[in-house]
């Protein structure tokens, strides 16, 4: 026994908080500790120019990085009615309100139609700052509608996941959104339309176990946390510390779960190239497609 016990500091959480202040003029990169000028960071799509650390970005910012120009947003007005009347340490209704004031969104996903490298595409981008990007009925509904729009207009779908999983405050209804969106993706699949899933930090729980893993291509941003069970739950189950890099994008690539790890600055071009390969317009394989 040592005389002086070294107490462990909580993992990285405070650092994360400190860096996520886009209002500030300067920001410290949690990857390389470099002090970065915020405006420079915006021009590099919020990727550290020195160490390529990917800062988390909001849904609107994400659409900006993907679309060629302006886009049409859909279903902006959809809002949860708090169907269970859920109250934990504070009422779910209050959480919805703070989500709205933090992000300007009524729920954790923004869906839009626009062009990616000239290809008209339905995109859904998740908003982490809205209750951890969690999926309740509104997220499920908006994504299902986006997929149905894609089928009707014969357009590809891109979903950018950034979510802690199903939303507890809507109970089993949230769980069922996994089924709802996956069923819509089955129709998209049978209609031979492309679906590209982009997994960003973090993508866990019910979102991973439904649409995030169902892409014709699954593309992850570097070093994103991607998994089903959260690392803490797994540590409690196995009573061991998890190895470094476990459940990160590169780990999933190694285990065959994703197609590629792509730097955000290359993401749009990568998606564009894939969509051209999957282009639904020409009809060369079958008469009924």
């Amino acid at each position: 026994m040592a005389w002086f016990k070294k107490t462990r500091k909580p993992r990285a959480a405070p650092a994360e908080k400190a860096v996520r202040v886009p209002e500030g003029l300067w920001v410290k990169c949690p990857g390389c500790q470099e002090i970065l000028y915020n405006k420079d960071l915006a021009t590099s799509l919020h990727v550290c120019p020195r160490c390529a650390h990917h800062f988390r970005i909001g849904a609107i910012e994400r659409l900006r990085t993907l679309f060629d120009a302006a886009w049409r947003e859909h279903d902006r007005g959809l809002i949860s009615t708090d169907p269970l009347g859920f109250v934990d340490t504070k009422p779910y209704k209050d959480r919805l309100k703070s989500g709205l004031s933090a992000t300007g969104q009524r729920d954790a996903v923004v869906t839009a139609t626009g062009r990616i490298d000239g290809i008209e595409t339905e995109v859904a981008a998740m908003e982490y700052d809205f209750i951890g990007g969690s999926m309740g009925v509104v997220v499920g509904e908006k994504i299902a509608r986006a997929i149905e729009r894609a089928i009707a207009g014969r357009r590809p779908v891109v979903i950018v996941s950034c979510s802690g999983g199903a939303r507890m405050m809507e109970g089993t209804l949230s769980l069922m959104q996994m089924a709802k969106v996956s069923a819509a993706l089955a129709r998209l699949d049978r209609a031979r339309l492309p679906y590209i899933s982009v997994l960003t930090d973090p993508t866990t729980g019910g979102v991973t176990a439904s649409f995030a893993m169902l892409g014709d291509l699954n593309i992850a941003e570097p070093k994103a946390l991607i998994g089903f069970a959260g690392p803490r739950v797994i540590e409690q189950t196995i009573r061991q510390k998890l190895p470094e890099g476990f459940q990160r994008s590169e780990f999933l690539l190694e285990h065959g779960m994703i197609d590629m790890v792509v730097d955000r600055r290359e993401l749009k071009a990568t998606i564009g190239a894939a969509l051209r390969f999957m282009n639904p317009a020409p009809d060369v394989t079958s008469a009924d497609a």
């Binding site: 279903d75 902006r76 007005g77 959809l78 809002i79 949860s80 009615t81 169907p83 269970l84 859920f86 934990d88 340490t89 009524r106 309740g136 009925v137 509104v138 499920g140 509904e141 199903a166 939303r167 507890m168 809507e170 109970g171 089993t172 209804l173 769980l175 069922m176 959104q177 996994m178 089924a179 709802k180 996956s182 069923a183 819509a184 993706l185 089955a186 129709r187 699949d189 729980g205 019910g206 991973t208 176990a209 439904s210 649409f211 995030a212 893993m213 169902l214 998994g227 089903f228 069970a229 739950v233 797994i234 189950t237 196995i238 998890l242 476990f246 459940q247 285990h255 065959g256 779960m257």
Partner: protein
């Protein structure tokens, strides 16, 4: 019945002990009459307790170690069960069983979670926590049923998908996701029975179907109440509050059209009278199966799609504000 009693069944336990004590006495008409009176009193108290179970008590009933599991029901409801094994990818997961059998004279495919009763069985079945191989075996078996035009019957009873390193390495999320998509489009009738714990994605991964039935005291939740309490209340011991808030009982789910029907359980729950529980299940299952096989095949998948599509309805669970 000498089944393990739950904490809230204490009043019943007291009477059962008295009955046991009386049974030791020499047999007289008086003694027998006293025992009979106590028995009926015990049943009455049990009925009263079970008529107003709290959600947390239901969680305990759903997890009861004597509750019938998939193989117990298969033994009682089906003939000639032939188990098939393995996912053809990596392994055979014993926490999910699959096989073909006869149900009232018709060939069906049965798939279900399986928990273990004794320590050895519990380890073999991994306490009902399925790994990716289990989900992959399940969908492989279901595609077999689709190919040969047989209906699929699914028994759901799992705490969750297994949260371990190998589960993540072999893609448990992908395995569940794939099943959700493929079951939505599986071109054969599917009836799902939630018989115990409907443990979030681990349950849903085999629970897409044309009819979802749920036993009276079963639960179906997005997260275990302990986990929810630990995250939202930062205190896992507030599980009873979480169980309440999450609305996980059969009645709650029926009210929101998440399930189609509640299958009644015998007094004191299925664990108290497995034969009677199986009988009630048989009645509901045979009716549901008849209904879904009567749906014209051309409509079945569309109706299944609409069923899940409507979970979360405009004007009920969400509304549209003008922007």
């Amino acid at each position: 019945m000498a089944v393990d009693l739950l904490e809230f069944e204490e009043p019943v336990g007291v009477l059962l002990k008295e009955i046991e004590a009386l049974s030791m006495m020499p047999r007289t008409d008086q003694r027998d009459a006293a025992i009979a009176a106590l028995r009926s009193r015990a049943e009455q108290i049990r009925a009263e307790l079970y008529a107003r179970l709290t959600p947390w008590q239901r969680v305990q009933v759903a997890r009861h170690p004597a509750r019938p599991y998939t193989l117990d029901y298969i033994e009682r409801l089906f003939d000639g069960f032939t188990e098939i094994h393995g996912d053809r990818r990596f392994a055979d997961d014993h926490s999910i069983v699959a096989g073909f059998a006869q149900y009232h004279g018709r060939d069906v495919l049965v798939v279900g979670h399986q928990k273990g009763r004794d320590t050895k069985q519990k380890i073999l079945r991994n306490f009902g926590y399925s790994r990716p191989e289990g989900y992959r075996k399940a969908i492989r078996a279901m595609k077999l049923a689709e190919k040969f035009g047989r209906p699929v019957l699914v028994f759901v009873d799992t705490p969750a998908a297994y949260p371990g390193i190998e589960s993540e390495e072999r893609g448990v999320a992908e395995a569940i996701a794939y099943n959700l998509r493929e079951m939505a489009a599986l071109d054969t009738p599917i009836v799902v029975l939630v018989t115990g714990e409907g443990g979030s994605g681990g349950a849903l991964g085999i629970a897409i179907g044309d009819r979802i039935l749920m036993q009276e005291f079963a639960i179906y939740s997005v997260i275990p109440p302990e986990g929810c309490a630990a995250i939202l209340w930062r205190d896992a011991s507030r599980k009873a509050e979480a169980a309440d808030a999450l609305k996980i009982t059969a009645e709650d789910l029926l009210a929101r059209d998440i399930i189609d029907e509640i299958v009644p359980e015998p007094n004191g729950g299925a664990q108290n009278a497995p034969e009677a529980a199986a009988k009630a299940l048989d009645v509901a299952l045979s009716r549901a199966l008849a209904e879904v096989t009567a749906i014209p095949p051309s409509e079945r998948l569309d109706r299944r799609y609409q069923k899940f599509r409507r979970m979360g309805r405009l004007g009920a669970e969400f509304v549209e504000e003008t922007t």
